[in-house]
Structures are given as structure tokens and as C-alpha cells.
């Protein structure tokens, strides 16, 4: 388009035509004096995922100094990875939901229910293990879609939806399992595949379980999907402003539905991993897993208002919690005070995050 006005059939108001001779510069100036703290704030602002990384490194360093070599051993560090792997994978599922401005109180309930289903089928009903797992994946996806249906069709807020379905899944879990655990030994003989993610690779004193590797893989795959595909952009857009996304031509209902289904599927993956991690299948395990996954997500800097934050943050969030718990334990702190410390950790981590976000791009 040229700078001159195209021939209009009727005349524009005269003063308006003047605007075409306008200067092209923009109201923007670099600010010069900036303190070191402010500079740090800026660096972190442009790379928000650095924050949990720094907190993580800081925590590792501090506990390394306080708790000494016991903490800082390859053995302990890989153990922490193992211990956080299940909550980590749940946090990945949770992140998906939180990015859409939702929250999922049912992730752990879905996971436990799916581990019970896979276990019952494979150990007691003689269904081949891989088929039992496939059924549990389908079940997890279906549970997620049930949440998704309530959110997108019935238009219930996600918090309420999952507050309700949490009770439902939990009751089903108790009913199916008869509140009985499935023994490790029985799994070993009937369906060892269920324990696949409990296998370890030993490198020196480090013990990396397949479950830890799985957790990292889950995060990397989801990161790719969220950041490198159109679907991922749509997820962010829906979380940012669902109405705008709809008007812009995103099928927000479908996108949300796919997010819930995927989150349910990831919970089923976590169910498989949890069998390897725990060794047996316990209907009572991970009762607090829902809130723990949320804790990891918020410590990882993902906004509960949706559309902002990187899923990798949740991985670091889970690791931070693990490092704190391990470090405090090794330093001989009571469980009681561990609970206390995690409370402060949440507050402080998110406060730092908030401080950093205060700067505008």
C-alpha cells in the first residue's frame, strides 16, 4: 500500500488527510539507570522458567551444605527423582488443566482408580497385562473426558467438576478394590509388566528408575506439544481468554475436551508408573496427590489464571518439593516441621514469581 491516499469517491475530512504525512517514530525509549536487583528481575522476567531452576539449584546447594554428603550423593539425588516421579507425572497432567485456567482435584483419584483397574484385571481376572494396561489407559482417558464433558458441555467450573468427580472416582476405587491392596508378589507372578517402571539402571551409586525417565519424557513430550504445535497454541489461547479464542475461531470446547482427555490419559500413565514405584497396588495411596500436584505446579510458576507459564516449571516444582523434603529429613527435622516448611515454600516461591512478573516486557 502506498503512502498517498487512494482516490476516494467522496472526500475525507480535510484534517484527516494531514495524518498521512506523519512521522513514523514510536513512543519508546530505553531506560538507562537500572540497579542490579532490577536487572536480575528483568532477566528472570524474560525467562520465567529460570526461577524454579534457580530455586532448585539453590535448595540443592543449601541442603548439600547443611545435610552434607548424604544429601549430595548420586544415590540420594536419584532417589529424590524416584520419589517425585509419580507426583511429577500427575503435575504434568495438572499443568495441562491449569494452563487452561482450570484446576483438577481428581488427578490422583483417576490414577489410583486406574491402577486398581489394571491390577484387578491382570492379577485377578487373568487378562494379559498389556491389555489390562490398555484398558486402564482407555479408562483414564474416559475419566478425563467425563471431567471435560462437565466443563465444556454442562459448563461447570473445573474446580467444582473435579471436586465432584474426585468423590465419585474415589468411591469407585474403594468399591472395585474392596479396600484391599494387591500384593507385590502376586503382581510379580501374574503380571510383572505392571511393574516395568520400577526397574532401575544403576550407574555407580546412582539408581535411575525407568519411572524417573518416564517422568522426564512425559514432560518433554508435553512441552513439545504445547510449544511447537498448533494444538498447544490453542491450549494457551483458551487459558488466556476463552471467549476471545472462540471468536478468533478456535474450537474452544474441543480444545478443552482434548486437554482433559489427555490429562486423564497421563494420569493412567502415572498409574502404571505408580505400580512400579510402590511395588504393590494400594487403593489408599496418594490420597493427597491432588493437592501435591497443584503444589508442584504453582511452585513451578504456572499461573492459576491460565495461559501463562511453562510446563517444565511443574517438573522443577515437583523436584523442589522433593529436594526440600529429602533435605529436611536428612537434617533430622520432624515430619511436622516438614509440613510447616512446605507451606512456607509454596508462599515464598510464588511470591518470588509474583515479584518477577511485576516488570512488563
Amino acid at each position: 500500500m502506498s503512502e498517498t491516499i487512494p482516490s476516494t469517491r467522496r472526500d475525507a475530512q480535510e484534517f484527516e488527510t494531514v495524518a498521512d504525512g506523519a512521522d513514523r517514530s514510536v513512543a519508546a525509549f530505553e531506560r538507562h539507570r537500572r540497579g542490579p536487583v532490577e536487572q536480575l528481575q528483568h532477566v528472570l522476567h524474560s525467562n520465567p522458567t529460570l526461577v524454579p531452576v534457580i530455586v532448585l539449584l539453590g535448595a540443592v546447594t543449601v541442603f548439600g551444605l547443611v545435610a552434607g554428603s548424604k544429601f549430595f550423593s548420586a544415590f540420594n539425588l536419584t532417589l529424590i527423582m524416584q520419589q517425585v516421579s509419580i507426583i511429577g507425572i500427575l503435575a504434568a497432567a495438572q499443568s495441562l488443566i491449569v494452563l487452561t485456567a482450570g484446576i483438577d482435584l481428581s488427578v490422583a483419584a483417576i490414577m489410583v482408580l486406574m491402577s486398581v483397574i489394571a491390577g484387578n484385571l491382570a492379577v485377578y481376572s487373568g487378562v494379559p497385562a498389556f491389555l489390562a494396561l490398555l484398558i486402564s489407559f482407555a479408562g483414564g482417558t474416559a475419566a478425563g473426558m467425563f471431567n471435560g464433558f462437565l466443563v465444556t458441555r454442562v459448563k461447570l467450573p473445573p474446580f467444582i467438576t473435579t471436586l465432584g468427580t474426585w468423590s465419585i472416582f474415589y468411591a469407585l476405587n474403594l468399591w472395585l478394590s474392596g479396600a484391599q491392596s494387591i500384593r507385590s508378589q502376586d503382581i510379580d507372578t501374574e503380571a510383572p509388566l505392571l511393574k516395568f517402571f520400577g526397574e532401575t539402571i544403576a550407574v555407580g551409586s546412582a539408581r535411575i528408575t525407568y519411572g524417573s525417565i518416564l517422568m522426564v519424557l512425559v514432560f518433554l513430550v508435553l512441552w513439545y506439544m504445547l510449544n511447537k504445535t498448533a494444538w498447544g497454541r490453542h491450549v494457551y489461547a483458551v487459558g488466556d481468554d476463552a471467549e476471545a479464542a472462540e471468536l478468533a475461531g478456535i474450537r474452544t470446547g474441543r480444545t478443552l475436551m482434548s486437554v482433559y482427555a489427555l490429562a486423564g490419559f497421563v494420569c493412567a500413565i502415572a498409574a502404571w508408573a505408580s505400580i512400579g514405584r510402590v511395588g504393590s497396588i494400594s487403593p489408599q495411596a496418594f490420597y493427597e496427590g491432588n493437592l501435591q500436584s497443584i503444589t508442584a505446579v504453582v511452585i513451578g510458576g504456572i499461573s492459576l489464571f491460565g495461559g501463562r507459564g511453562s510446563i517444565l516449571g511443574a517438573l522443577f516444582g515437583a523436584l523442589i518439593v522433593g529436594v526440600f523434603q529429602s533435605g529436611l529429613r536428612l537434617a533430622g527435622v520432624d515430619v511436622l516441621w516438614q509440613v510447616f516448611a512446605i507451606g512456607w515454600l509454596i508462599i515464598i516461591a510464588v511470591a518470588i514469581d509474583q515479584w518477577i512478573r511485576k516488570v512488563s516486557a
Binding site: 500500500m1 476516494t8 504445535t229 494457551y236 471467549e243 476471545a244 478468533a248 475461531g249 501463562r308
Partner: protein, 259 residues
């Protein structure tokens, strides 16, 4: 005169006890700029939301290129070729200008990464966005990866207009595109509208700015109390007449022109 490209008959839209569209008719002819004018609350936005799939009507039919259509979402309308810039703009505040421009029309990378892994071609989208924005000469924006929320109201309007105009459409609807714009930016948008029209694409323009309406419009749809009161041609009538019609100070002169 040939057949309308987009038309509507007997549209109804109720919000609880409020009737926003009351048996409303509408016609847009190929290649024309149709202005829609009317008081605040007359139902103009409701009309274009109905045409663009953003709300479902309670009754009436919409016809695009002679075929009856029934949009249940903005996406369907977009895919049928109706691009809309809403009064609220419909931008995602935390996302970048590029992301917003390509929202829902992302470009996938060539080769297997794109085909199998559905990888996007960010570099290409960035390049095209920059090109479109500078081609439209609309922007005084510093950084194309800047989140939209850091732009001023006017700048945002620019991005939204650019998005609607940048991708081939059969009809473009603009709901008060210059309301928040400065003189310079308004001028750009008006030039742009004419530019788009000269490519043969018909435009529906809602505006309260009479000089703009009379400068650009081929026909003017006067909306009043939830329906089309009449249509007039700017050649045949003065701004004062138009204002008198839309405010109810004057009764419509029978059918002014064949609608």
C-alpha cells in the same frame, strides 16, 4: 442489481426480556461497502454476531452466496469466508502479536516434522506477520513477539484489523473498527477498508462516525429498535437525514431503495 452475497431474513434474538433483534432483515451485495448505523443498543452488534456465528439466533435465516447457512461457531463462519473484527477485538492478551495473527490458522513446518510431528513454522509465521503489518502500514509496534496486552488500545485494534484483512475472505465485518483509534490510525484503517474493497471483497462496517460512513459506504443500513429501518444511499441523503432516521426523529421514506 445482482443477488446479495450475504443476506438474512427475519432474524430474532432475545436476551431474556430484551429483544436485541426483532425480525431483522439484512442484505450485502458483492463488492460493496455497507455501513450499518444506529443508536447505542439498537442491535447492530447483535446483528453481526448473528451473521458471524458468535451467537445463535432464536429465529430467521441467513444465506451466503445463495445457500442457507447455519453457523454454530465463529470458526464455521470464518471457514465459510466471513472474517470479523469484534468490538472486543478477540485477542489473547498474554500471547504475542504473531500468535494472535495466526490464531487458528497456524502454518506447519514443511517436511516430516510438520507432517508427522505437527511442528509449526514459527519463523515463517513471524515473517508473514511482519510483512502483513508493514504492508498495511498500520503499526507503530516495537516488537512483533510482544504480548498483545502491552499494546495500547489503538495498537490492539490495529492487530485485530490486520488479522481479519490479512487472510483471504469473502466478506469482512468490522464492528466500530476506528472507535478507539487516533486520527492517523483511523485514516489507515479507512484506507485499508477501501483497499480491501478494491480487491472486490465486500465489507460490512459498523460505525458511529458519520463522516467516515458517508465517505466510504456504498449503501447505508439504518438499524433501529432491533430491525432494519431502511437502507439509504449516501448520494441520496445527507448526514442529517441519516441521523434523523436512526434516532427516530424522522420516519423512513417508504423503501428508499430496493433492498
Amino acid at each position: 442489481m445482482n443477488a446479495p452475497i450475504l443476506s438474512a431474513r427475519g432474524l430474532q434474538k432475545h436476551y431474556g426480556r430484551v429483544t436485541a433483534l426483532d425480525n431483522c432483515d439484512f442484505d450485502l451485495y458483492p463488492g460493496e461497502i455497507l455501513a450499518v448505523i444506529g443508536d447505542n443498543g439498537a442491535g447492530k452488534s447483535s446483528l453481526i454476531k448473528a451473521l458471524s456465528g458468535a451467537v445463535r439466533t432464536d429465529g430467521g435465516t441467513i444465506t451466503l452466496e445463495g445457500k442457507e447457512v447455519n453457523f454454530s461457531s465463529p470458526l464455521q463462519a470464518q471457514e465459510a469466508g466471513i472474517a470479523t473484527v469484534y468490538q472486543t477485538l478477540a485477542l489473547s492478551p498474554a500471547m504475542s502479536i504473531v500468535d494472535n495473527m495466526f490464531m487458528g490458522r497456524e502454518i506447519r513446518a514443511a517436511g516430516p516434522a510438520g507432517r508427522w510431528l505437527r511442528k509449526l513454522d514459527h519463523a515463517k509465521m513471524r515473517e508473514i506477520a511482519r510483512e502483513k503489518l508493514s504492508e498495511l502500514g498500520l503499526m507503530t509496534i516495537q516488537n512483533i513477539d510482544q504480548p498483545v496486552e502491552t499494546l495500547s488500545g489503538g495498537q490492539r485494534q490495529g492487530v485485530a484489523v490486520a488479522r481479519a484483512a490479512a487472510f483471504g475472505s469473502k466478506v469482512i465485518i468490522l464492528d466500530e473498527p476506528t472507535a478507539a483509534l487516533g486520527v492517523k490510525e483511523s485514516r489507515k484503517v479507512l484506507n485499508l477498508i477501501q483497499d480491501v474493497r478494491s480487491r472486490g471483497i465486500p465489507i460490512i462496517l459498523i460505525s458511529h462516525n458519520m463522516p467516515h460512513v458517508f465517505e466510504l459506504a456504498d449503501r447505508i443500513h439504518v438499524h433501529r429498535l432491533g430491525r432494519r429501518l431502511c437502507t439509504v444511499r449516501p448520494e441520496d441523503c445527507t448526514m442529517s437525514d441519516a441521523v434523523a432516521l436512526m434516532t427516530g426523529a424522522k420516519a423512513p421514506p417508504g423503501e428508499t431503495i430496493a433492498a
